[in-house]
Each structure stands twice: as C-alpha cells, then as structure tokens.
Symmetry: D4
Subunit: 256 residues, 8 copies
C-alpha cells in the first residue's frame, strides 16, 4: 500500500496531475492495490507453513525453493518428499524433520497457533497408511491435535465400533480408504460431523487406480461427506484444519 499512499500524497501536493495519477494508478502492480490474497492477513496465519509439492521436482530444485522461502522466515513443509530429497534439504536446513511414512519434511521457524478441536484420521487398510499419514502430519503441522484410527476397514467393521470413542471426540473426521472405499460411508452414517473422504489408489483390477473408491465416496448417501482427489492426503489434512479452526483457537499464550 506504500506506493499507493506516496502517489496520493503527490496528488495532494500537486506534484502529479489528476490525469497523470490516473495513468500511474493503472500501472501500479495489482498487489500494491491490496487485492492479493484477500483475507490472508499475516496475523491470522501465524505459523502456517508454506508448502512445496516435491513430486516431479529434483532434490536441487526443492533445495532452491526451500532457500528462497527460508529468507521470508516462515515455517515450511514439503509433501511427496522421498528420503533423497530430505537428505539435501537437511544440508541447508539442519533443523528439518522428516516423517517417512507421510513422505513429508518440515522446517519449523516460528510456533504455530493451536486449534482447540481434535481431528480424527481413520483408515481402512495397511496400504492406505501413507496417505492417512500425509493427512495426519499435515494437520499436525498446521496446529491441530490428531487422533489416528487405522486398519478399521469394512471387512473388519467391528474394530471400528470398538473404537467409536475416537469418532465421538473429534470435530472433523478424515477417512482414507482404497479398494471399495465403503468405510467413508459407514463413518459418515455413524456421526453428525464434517467427514472428508480420501480415496486411495490402493488395489488392482477394476479398481482403476482409485476410481472405484472415488466413485463410491462421491455417491455416498451419508450426509456431510465431502471428497478430495485420489491419494490427496495433504488436501484432506488442509481442509480439515480449515474446518477445525472454526471451532476456536488456543490463546496466543499457548504458543511455547
């Protein structure tokens, strides 16, 4: 906004004519007019990390982006990052932490404001765990308490009932399931809360790389179920965070 203020001051001082001012105004970068990212006010976003999607990038490219971001002093997280990427990142950011199952690395510079509510992350099979962990770690890095409830697929549905307290306690629930993807419907049928479903590409045959789970979830009759892209654990964790935030945040004082 500084440039805009300077321009207006020049108008006031008659240093520029109205016509010149109109012309200059049109040439001012969009951001200077204050429209960019309308409600991303810094205050509300204290500690929210910037995110790098590492898939399809070389370790060198990731390091370059990390270095650029570190200068801004924000927290950073990298998704779909393999061990090789982390090794390189660690060289420039020794405080970086790696979550191998989630394939995420995180660089913490400032504390994150905590949300009050709990996010439950539920998954169907062992092979869905990487996507579930991507959702869970994402939510944690964004300042949420997360409870994990894994391996409770429909074929062994009694295990879900045995752990129903986890669902009761949560504000938002992320359900991760491949193959038939029916778990999301079952969970959303049991609770009266926002449920975010993540289809995974786990399976074979007529699974068609996650299409079967995606369609199952989109067609669920259970109210309140919304869906993200196949294998998009990050997206689910991020959306769960945005919802959980509505339930209130801890006092700043809570930041260590």
């Amino acid at each position: 906004m500084e440039k805009l203020r300077q321009l207006l001051e020049k108008v006031q001082r008659n240093d520029v004519s109205i016509d010149e001012a109109l012309k200059l105004l049109k040439d001012l970068p969009y951001e200077d007019l204050g429209f960019a990212k309308v409600d991303h006010h810094r205050a509300l976003r204290r500690g929210v990390p910037e995110v790098i999607f590492c898939q399809g990038k070389t370790p060198e490219q990731v390091v370059m982006i990390v270095e650029r971001m570190m200068k801004k002093g924000t927290n950073i997280m990298g998704t779909r990052a393999n061990a090789a990427v982390f090794e390189e990142v660690k060289k420039v950011a020794p405080q970086a932490v790696y979550y191998p199952e989630a394939r995420i690395f995180a660089i913490k510079v400032e504390p994150v404001i905590k949300n009050k509510g709990v996010i439950a992350v539920v998954s169907a099979g062992t092979s869905d765990i990487p996507v579930a962990e991507e959702a869970a770690v994402t939510a944690e890095l964004l300042g949420n308490k997360v409870e994990r409830l894994y391996d409770v697929g429909v074929a062994g549905i009694h295990r879900l009932f045995m752990n129903i307290e986890v669902l009761k306690k949560a504000q938002v629930i992320v359900v991760v399931a491949g193959m038939e993807g029916a778990l999301a419907s079952v969970v959303a049928g049991l609770v009266d809360k926002p449920v975010i479903a993540v289809p995974t590409s786990v399976g074979y045959g007529a699974n068609f790389s996650g299409l079967s789970a995606l369609l199952t979830m989109l067609n669920s009759c259970a109210g309140g179920l919304t869906v993200v892209n196949i294998d998009n654990g990050f997206g689910a964790g991020f959306a769960a965070h945005q919802i959980n935030k509505l339930g209130g945040q801890e006092d700043e004082a809570s930041i260590p």
Copy 2:
C-alpha cells in the same frame, strides 16, 4: 438318444452298412447325440420354469413365445414384464400371476421341488426394491424360501445390525444396492457365506448408471463376494438358487 439307439440297432441287424452309418451319424442332430445341455436332466429340473426376457419385446411377441412354451408343459416366467404385457399373457394363460414390483409374471403348470435352505435378499434403499423383488420372486419361483430385509443401507447401518438374525439364518445372501453400493461389503464382512451382490442403476451424477456401485462391489475386500450385472436381479436370484440347491432339496413328497 432314441434315434441313436435305432441307428445302432440297424447296424446290428445289418440294415445299414458301416459307411452309411458313419454318414448318418454325422447328420444326426447334435442334440440326439446327448451332448446338449449336459446335465440338464429332466429329473433334476422338475418344475424349473423356462424364462422369457420381455424387455424390448412387444406384448404380441411375448404371447407367441408363451404359447409355444405352454405346449411343452413346463412352468414359465417372464422378467422385465410391464402390466401391458401381462394383460395379453393372461388372455392365453388365465392362471398367470403377476408380481408388479418385480415386473415378473409366472405360469405354474407343475409343482417345483423345494430347496431346504433359505435365501436372504437384502437391499439398501427404497428405490432398489424393484431389483430386489426381481431377485426374490425369481428365487421363490425356482423353489426357494426367501427372507426379505429391505431399507438397511449404510447410512442407517444400525438397522442392519438389529436384523442380523436374518443373515444368520440364510444359506446364501443376495445384496442389492445402488449409489455407493457399500452395503454388500458390510454384509459380506459380517457373515461367512456366499454373498451375491447386485449393483443397481439408482442414483445420479457420478453414479454413471450403476458404474459406481458395480466398481465398489467388485473391489470389496470381503471374502466370498461375487457380483452380477447392474440391475440383474434375475441373475442374482437364479445364481442364489443354484447355490442353495447344493444344501439339499426337500423330498419329492413335499411337492403338493
């Protein structure tokens, strides 16, 4: 086999030469050689109706087929038959009965041998009932006891648990479900019996005329689940009958 026996007798009596016999043998209709429908022995099939798929046929065409079949003296059933078709059929077969929800008419000429076991037909939503009824009535006409358990979809899964006795009592279970189709997985996860899943075309949007339910069912992790074509209630009822038959049949004496 009679023609074949007569031919061999002629060979024995030297009424035909070997060469002539070889030639005649080749010209004998395939069926007379006993290969046709290898195990469709009449005895085992007592009362099993002949089936007419009425969809895409005019009432006149259906009546013509009914008349031809009635001459053989077997039971008859017509599937995908609307009321108009039944009206015409009744004119030539006054004993015909119509099951409007199942869209089936039946003409009973001889009694059917009863299977000992029970077939359960379970369905998810109100709109799945026509397909469920097609399965149930088909199974009944083939000589099976059927228990219906409707409107127990995943969104109201507790109703399934409240009626679990029906599943426990059955030898075979047919599960009919549209939309997400998850009910089949849930049922097959609860029991240790053959479960036949019927996806229905009920739904809208990314349901793609039953594709979503079909894929869900094919991808189920629950053991023992097999699938038939979308909306194919008849096929499911027929397959359930073939399986139920393995559990034994009532004495002939049981036939009224």
Copy 3:
C-alpha cells in the same frame, strides 16, 4: 436403554440367572444397547429436519412417508420434489412451503437452532441456479444464514472481484459450477476458508454430464477445497451446515 436397565435390575433381584441374562442380552435389539447413531443426541439436533429424497418416488409414496414422519413431530424437508409432489403433500400438511427453484418443500413443526456464522453460496451461470438454490435452501432450513452470489463465472471473473465482500464475510463457501468448473478453484485461491465445490451437469459435448466439472474440482491445486457429487446441492448445503455449526450456535433463547 430402558430395557437394558430392566434386565440388569432383574439380574440384581435374581429374577433371571446369569446365563439367561447373557442369552437375553444377545437378543436385545441393537438400538436398545445405545449404539445406534452414536452422537445423534436429540438435544443437539433440535429442529433438524428429516429428509426425503423424492426423485424416483411417486407423489403417493412421498405422502405416505410424510405422514409417517409427521407423527414423530420433527421438521421435514423433501428434495428433488416437483410441483406435482408438493400439491399432494400440501393436502396432508397444509403448512408445507415450496421453493420451486430449489425443488424443495419444507414442513416446519418446531423452531431450528440458528448457527452464528454465514454460508456463502456462489454460482457460475444461470443454469446452475437450481443446484445452487438446493444448497442455499437446505442450509437455511438447517438453521444457517445464507448469502447468495450468482452468475459470477470465470468468463466474467471481474464480477466476482466486485463482490468479494461476500466471500470475506462467510465462514464456509459453497461453489456451484458446471461446464469447466473453474470457479471453485478461483474462489478457493482467494480465501482461506472451507470451500465445498458442487459440479453440475450443465453443459454439452465433452462435458459428459458433469464429469468435466467434477474432474476440474477434484484436481484443483487450491487448498481446502472438497467436492460433492454432481448436482448434489443438498449434500453441499448439509456439509456446509455441519461445518458452520462448529463456529457456534445462537442461544436457545434466539429460537422464536
């Protein structure tokens, strides 16, 4: 729970033996054990209507369900209801109200607890309005304040910017778009809040009945975007309500 309590009392009084009690316990309906719909406590759901999906049902069938529900004394809403259905419903429930664009009828018996936050419903083109209205009216009937922002598609994106205050004010945003479906991404890129995207089947050619908009929305890079089924305005309105509820509810006193 009453039946369970009575049983325990009988055990205490030695009116039933332990073995008998175990057997009876197993035969108690599932619901009596208190597991059904785990957190659907009546108190929290005061005024939440029961829902009838009218598509594929005859007016007679809808009326029958309405009458059954009215006996429970809860609010009722019917979705995908055409004028003919409403005419019949009105005969048994004269207080019923019809929202023609949303294709919803509502029967209000008791007041609804109001959520504090606002839900914005944004739509791209004129033909998307029925689905947008289904979402908006659903959210209103569930006790939410709704702001509508229609006809702000990507081809006329400046109209979105001119009305950005609506987005700023909302707790949750529902975006309804057919054809290319890009509006959801643009909105989610501008705000830092939960955004629920509803693809519509509006369009022709390679739109494939909403598939193009669905895929666009699922593949959005904008964080916090989740998706419901094609044309599923009800689902979006319901999920938005569940999220908005987290932001707090008005005092009971607010209920007129």
Copy 4:
C-alpha cells in the same frame, strides 16, 4: 463373553450399582458383546487359514504379520507373494510351503475340515494359469478337492467338449479367462451349477487391462454366472469354497 459374565455377576452380588453397570456396559469393547463376526464360530472354521495379501508389502512387513498370526495357532496363507517374500517367511516358519505359479505360501498348523464336493477350475489360455492357480490353491488350502482344466479357450472350444466330464463332476466351477472372456459364458451355458468367472488382465490393445473380459462376463446371458474382480483368483477360490461347503463336509474323523 467372559467380561460380560463377570459384570453381570457383580450386578447380582450388588458389587456394582445398576447405573455403574450401565456405564461399564457401554464401555465394554464391542467384541466382548459377542457381535463381532457374527457367525465365525471357531468350530465351523477349524483349519481355515488367516490370509495375508502380500502385494505392496515388504518381506519384513509380511514376516512381522506372520509371526503375530503364528502365536494364535491358526493356519496361514499369503497371496501375491513372490519368491523373495517366501525366503524370508521360511526363516521364521520352516514348515511353510510355496506354490510359485499361484504366488501363494502356506503354513499349516492344524488339519482342515474337508468339503465333500469337487471344485473345477477351468482356464482359457496359458497366460491365465497364474490366476487360475491362485484360485485352485486357495480352494485346496481351504479344504476342497480341485480338478484343473486348463487351456480350453473359445478358439479351441472342442478341447472343452472333450473334457466335459470334469464339468459334470464338479459342484462349483471357477472359470478364468482374459482377452474376450467368452469361455465363462460357454461353460455356464453347458452346466446347471454355480459358475464363478474371473476376468484376467491378460491381453493388449482394447483389452484395457481386463476391462473387456470383465464386461463380457458381467453381460453373459448364461444363468447362474457371477463375477469377481479382475485377476482376483483368491476371491474366486474363496467364494467357491463357501459354496462347496453347503454340499456337506467330511466327518471330523476324516481329518488326519
């Protein structure tokens, strides 16, 4: 049930009040209430192996699961297991046996109850044999007699007719076929028994990884045909076992 019995005894002895009992009852794990896996009574399942789906798991993960299962003393089988996995399993379970074509390993601890009937496994081409073997070995490990009839595809259909006795003898038939998948229809057209069709991903071009065979089988007009997922030999073998069991089991005495 032991915990439940103990609780009731405490109620009887007035060691706990009714109110406390109600609260404790609610906290009892679901399984203790006897609902879990409703008819999986141990007696009926004597010898039925627990199953590990090895695809996508490291040898180490498989070994860990094997060790955990071995403690329960049940038989174990691993599907989609390559030789490397088996090498590791053998180290902790020297009695493990490997079926390389079926890609299955088995660890036998207790004898399996045998079913009386025979299961026929029929396959179309040489490349379908791994899936056919997965079905056949699965059925054998579950206690069934299996007859194999391989390489009888539609292009050489006379070989099927030459071996028609195998079909006549079987209680249930599993048909494995890729490419056009027509063999399943031909077999189901010849017999009057349950036929389970397994499409395989064998083929190229418009085969689309098994889609062509899957669709062919789902669309078969032959009565009694049901279908499992592409390449799901295990599922077919398991379902065939469940059906075959209905035909009766050998006396316990038959267990060596």
Copy 5:
C-alpha cells in the same frame, strides 16, 4: 475424361498454347482428371445401389435425395428408414420395396450382377435380429445369396452345432451379437473363413450401449475375425459383399 481429351486436341491443333493449356489443366475439375473413386469403374459396379443413410433426416429430405438419384438411373437403397419415410418415398418411386425388420427400402432400376458364393448371417438373440436383417438385406441387394441362422447364442450353443452346415457352406460369415458378444469368437474358432463381427447395443447395465460386445469381439483370439461399429449391420453386409465378390461373379447372362 471428355474435357481433357478436347483440351489435348486443341493443343494438338495449336488452338491453345502450351502455357494456356497448363493453366487450363490446373483449373479442370479434379474429377475430369479421372482420379475420383479410382477403381469404381461403372462396369464393375453394374447394379450396385447408391445408399442413403436415413437416420436424422426428415422424410422430405430423403425424398429429395431419392429424386436426385433416380435421375442417374442407378438402383437405390435407404438404411435406417422407418415406415413414415417409406410412405413418402413410395409416392415418388412406386416400385420401392420396404423390409421392415431391416429398416431398409430399395428401388430397383437395373439388375444386379450376382456373386457366386454364399454369405451366412448368424445372430445370437431375438433382439439382435433387426441388425442381422440390416446386414442380410444389404448383402442381398448387393447381389449375394444369404443364409440366415438366428437365435444361436452362446447360452444355447448346441443350436449352433446343430446347424453347422450353414457355416460350412458359406464363403463369408457375419456374426451379430449383443450383451457379451461371445458368439463371434465361437464361430471364428469353428471355421477357417473371413468372419465379420457386428456388436449390437442390445442389453442393459454394464453393457454400456454395446461397448461390452465391441470389446469382446476386438479381443477375440480367434483368427480372421474383424469388427465393424456397434449396430452397423449395413457396414457388415457391405464388407461381406466386397469379400464374397473375390470368389467370383455369375455370368452377365445370369442377370434376368
């Protein structure tokens, strides 16, 4: 070619210069240069009708095209023509004949040269007959002897064997089948002749308007099988004619 000859004569007579001739040559319509339809020499095509695809045309449009064609004096056939179209055509061409099952009308002006060989048209179900008739009548109008073998689907495969003489006698075989489409493979596996497969859109569910039959036929392992578009009976009849022609034609004298 006449214009070209006249031009060359002018060059010879020096009525036009070389340069002028080159320029004129370039302006000569393409057809006059003799390239159009390179081997469609009139002599070889004696009696071959011109074809009108009537689907999507109004009766008036069809009549207009018929009148234009009649001036050329060739035979005419109209495919996908309903009774209403034929009624109008008959008014301008009283000799027109209508084949209702094939939905074809024909106007015969000159005799057709007959091919020596026989074309067999085989179909699976009753509902495939319109497409089969389209193929058969097309082939007949093009001068071929046709033998029909209908209702010999895979579910009743013995009927095919009983009529195997029809296949033996034919030079080319057209197989028409919907649903699973397996009949084409079975026929091509029995004979050593060109087989043209026509998938039909008959069926429901996962038939996807003929896709299942199309894929089955494209994936057939039986040698010599080629495929035309779904429901394209005309294309199959036309291609069968072109192949049958290679086996020789009757003497001109054979033309009545």
Copy 6:
C-alpha cells in the same frame, strides 16, 4: 473511471485525507478501477453482438435478457434458439432475424466493422450442417465474409479436391465433422493456415456422442489444427473471427 477521478480531485483539494482516500479506494467497485475486461475497449468492439446461450432457458427467460440488453443499444445474438424462442423474441424486437439451420436469432442495432479476410466453413456430412451453420452465421454476424463448403467428407474426398480454391482463398478454416472426424486432418494437411476443428455428436455406436471425432481431431498430426468442444459451432465461429481480425479490418467508412 469517473469515480476514481472524482476521488483524486478530492484528494487534490484536500477534501479527503490520504488515509480516508486509501480506505475509499479499497471500497471502490473493481470495475471502476478500470481492470474489468482489460482490452475490451468499446472502440475495438463496435458492433460486436452480446450473446445469449438459449439452450435450457425458457422463451420468457430469453425475452427478459433480450429486453435488458436492448437498453444498452448493442447488437444481440441468441444461439441454440428454437423457433418457439424466436417467436417470443420477435414480439419485443420486431427487427430480429432467425437463421433456422443455425438455430440463431440476431438483432442488429448498429453496423459491424468488417474484417478483410475470408473464413471458410467446411463440413463432412449432411447431418453436420446445423453445427456448420452455427459457426458460419456466428462469423458473419461478427463481421466476417464466409465461404461454405459442405458435404465434402472423407468417403467422397475427391469433392474436397474439386473445390480446393475455397481453401486457398481463406484466411482461417473451420472444419465441422462427426463420425470419424478425419476431414479436419485432411484439410489441415493440405493448407498452411489456422484450422479450427469442430467435432459433432452425429453418428451412433462407438461414436459415443462425438467422442470419436473429438479424439481424432485432438490426435491429428497435421500442424496448426486446434479443436473446440463437441457441437460448439459458436465457439469455432467466434475463434475464427478473432483470428481473422488479425488480418486487418475494413475502414470505418465501410460501415453502411
């Protein structure tokens, strides 16, 4: 821009403080800042009609939009408009003209600036003509000279060569084709100019409502070919106009 100028003048006159100005500036509607439709300067668009997509709108809705637009004094065109729509439009705009084959109505209020170049519209079959006319009439209403070349499909490719002068004369070519869609490739292979391909939904069977033509056109190896949506004649005509404009416009004086 007037509001902005007034604001700056107030700043100059010290009628508002800098801080107030900054705040007011932020509240100015987006459009007033001059960003809306960045290069849609009125001068360049003289006579370009506003467009109404009538499909899915009632005649009443169309009339309402027409009346609103007529107040702005611009030309108007309505696409996908049937005769019923036009009848209603004519009542409020008697000067409206209807192009029945193109399904377009136009209301001309001011003259259109003419482009110098010619646009050729080429189509394959009779049934593609409505889409071709939509493209041609759209281009004409936008101020372009159009040459039509219809019925030159690949099956009669010599007719294309006979009329090659049309292709030579054009600046831009629109090719409209259904079924196999190969005509676009052939045309683009013959010329060195921008070619816009429009797949149509004309056809049946494996045409899948235009998908086959769409894929053919997207996969063309011929350089310079770009594609619009199935049946989108308007889009092709509009894009062709934008390209043709680059070749220069007639003097204003040319406007009658």
Copy 7:
C-alpha cells in the same frame, strides 16, 4: 473317425450290445466324432503354420512349445518374439528365420500353397512400421504376395495419391495407423475392396493407447472397412489371407 468305425463294426459283429455301445459312444472323445474344427481339413491347410503368441512367455516356454509342434511336422511361426526368444528357438530349430521389425520368427518345414491375389499393407507413420510389418510378414508366411506402402499418413496425403497403383493392384488392403487413424477412411474412400484397419498405440495424450485411432476406424463412413484390435498386426494379416484365398490359389505344382 477310426475309433467310431471300429465301434460300429463291433456292434455289427454283436461284440458289444446296443446299450454298451451307447455308453461307449458317449465316452468317445469329442474329436473322434469328427466335430472338432469342422472345416480345418488338412488338405486345405497345407503349409499353414501353427502360431505361438510369445508375449508374456519365457524363452524356455516358447522353446518347449516349438519342440512339441515340430514333432507334428507343420510350419511354425512365433509372434511378438524378441531377439532373446529367437536365440533360444534357433538352438532347437537351426532353420528358423527372424524378422526383427515384425518381431516374428518362422520355421518352415513344408511349402505353402500360394494365393493368387496381392495384399497391400499401407501405414501412416514411421512408428507404425512394426505393426505393419507384423501384418505383412504374417500374410507372406501364409502364402500371399504382399506390397508395402509405408509413411503415407494423412498429413502428407499426396504421397498416397502418388502411389495409388499399389491400391489398384491389391485384392485386399491392410491399413495401419496410430494417432488420429484417419488414413483407413481415406483409403477405403478411394477403393472398392475389402480394407482391414489396424489401429496402433502410437501417440500420446488424448490418444489413450490407441483408443482414438480405434474409434476413428470404427466410425468410418467409408464402406467395406472392418477393424481389428489395437496393434493386432497378426490378426489383420491373417484375416487378409483368409479373404485373399477366396480369389483363388496357385496350382499345387507352384509349390517348389
């Protein structure tokens, strides 16, 4: 037939009773009854090779099949055979020849009867050549004269016209094309002969592994075009041979 003759002779001699004969007759292998491969009489097939589809088989498996076939004394060809397979085959069949572009090996034991007509194999791009060669070499090994016309795609369509004599000379034409696949339509539009189209999986993007070319070819309006599976050069060459055979065969004397 020998066994059948012996049986009849025994009946004649009264060595077996009629009843025994009937029973034995039923047990006679199907082939002995003369039904197997109804018209594959040895005489007509002199020299026709047996075919091995090598894809997905190990060199060892191929060698095993080759050895078994060599004992029958027929010619052999292996398709989809890489160099490694050929190296192993050569060890057991030193006379084996390898066609690397066609990925075919051939072992010639007896001469092949030659067909009189010529088969033209036409292909669009350089990358289509392997499939074109598979078709061409297959046709040659089956006894046909083949003319190749490569690299005549639609983008350079004039090269096709320059070589039109090749099309004129042929009895049957095989057209191989990937990407848009339009070449098949163009060729079939130019000639009045059987044309077999082979879509190839060459391309990228919306080519979808050959789907675009497949759909183009199936939707061609050009008469007489039939299609085989994507990349199925062998199938096209085989079908072309069956068609070409109808045009007559050289005298036996022609066999060297």
Copy 8:
C-alpha cells in the same frame, strides 16, 4: 510441372497421339500435376524448418533423417529429443543447438522471416514448464517474438493480474496448464484475442493423465478458446505461429 509441359509439347508436335497422352497423363505422378501441398509455396515458407518428432525413434534413426533433410538445405528442428539424441545429431550437424527444457534441437541453415506480432506463452505450475517451453521455442524457431509468463496458476491468480501487460501486448496467447486447467478459461475471459490451450499430463489421481485439464479447457465458456492435444506444446506453438503470421511479416530486409 516440367513433365506435364514436356508431354503437352509432344502432343503439339504430334509425337504422341491423344489416346497415348491421356494414358500417360493418368500415370503421371500426382505431384507433377501440381496438387501436392496446395499452398506450400516455397516463397511463403522461407526458413520454416522441417520437423522431426523424435519420441520413439533411436538416435541413429534421427541422425539418418537429419542427414537426408540437410541435403535439401532447409532449417530443421527435432521435438521430444533427449540429450542422447542431440549428442548424435551434433556429430553430423555441429551447428545444431539444444534447448533442454523444451527438449528441442534446431539446425539453422537459412534465416527465418519474422512475424510482426508477439506470442505470449503463459503457464500454471513449475511442472508445466517443459510443455510451455516446447511451445515457446517452437514459436521462436518459426520466426515469432515470444513473451513468457510462467507460474501464474489459478491458486495464485493475483500474479496473473500483476502481469496483465504481457497479455495486453500479445497477438496470440498460448496457455499451458495441468491439474484442473482452469487458467485457460481465466485468461480467455480477460482478453479478446485468440487463446490456444494446452492441457498437460501433470498431476495425479483423478487427473487421469491430463484428461481433467483437457475436459476443463474444452468446456470453457470463454469465447475464442481452442485446444490442442495433451502435452502438445509443439502443436500450440505451430498454430500460434500460423495465426500470428496473419498480423503481418517483417520486410525480407529484416532477415540478417
């Protein structure tokens, strides 16, 4: 044309008869008649390179084609060329230049005529850059000025607005985007110029290898948008060049 002239001279001199001339004329290669590539006159194409699509070709094959082209003295460019291909090309053409991100090599022999207008290449994400560079470098090698505007995806849409001058300056705009592909709609909604959209296969899950971006772009409501195949940067650059050429070319003198 020389051969044609010589033939006409012979006719004039009576060295050949009219009949002979007609016959010879028919045998003249198509190209000699002047039809080949109708408007590819050398003069208009000065400097336009010949193009080699290197994907799927060995370095040796590419070198062979390069050598053949170099003899004609035209410029050459190779697309989809990896470094290994370039290494080999450089050995025979030392002046060859490699653009690694665009995967293009170029061999410049003669100067290219420059177009006056500017082409803007806009891309959404980092991973879309290779395709964007393929478009940009192609356009540059064809004689166009190119402005790049990368990383302006919809999630960060303000960066597009900040650089809107690039769009204003351009004659034609190429937009490259994967995932949701919405950027193309946004750009086309902002400008009134030809926009060519290139979907990329960047993404995962329900992106289906670029299908989601392709459908989004085809369904855009923004006028003037046309689309090329997934990842087809070359095609977009080429089409943009053809359009840009219409805006005028620099004087020959401008060629260095």
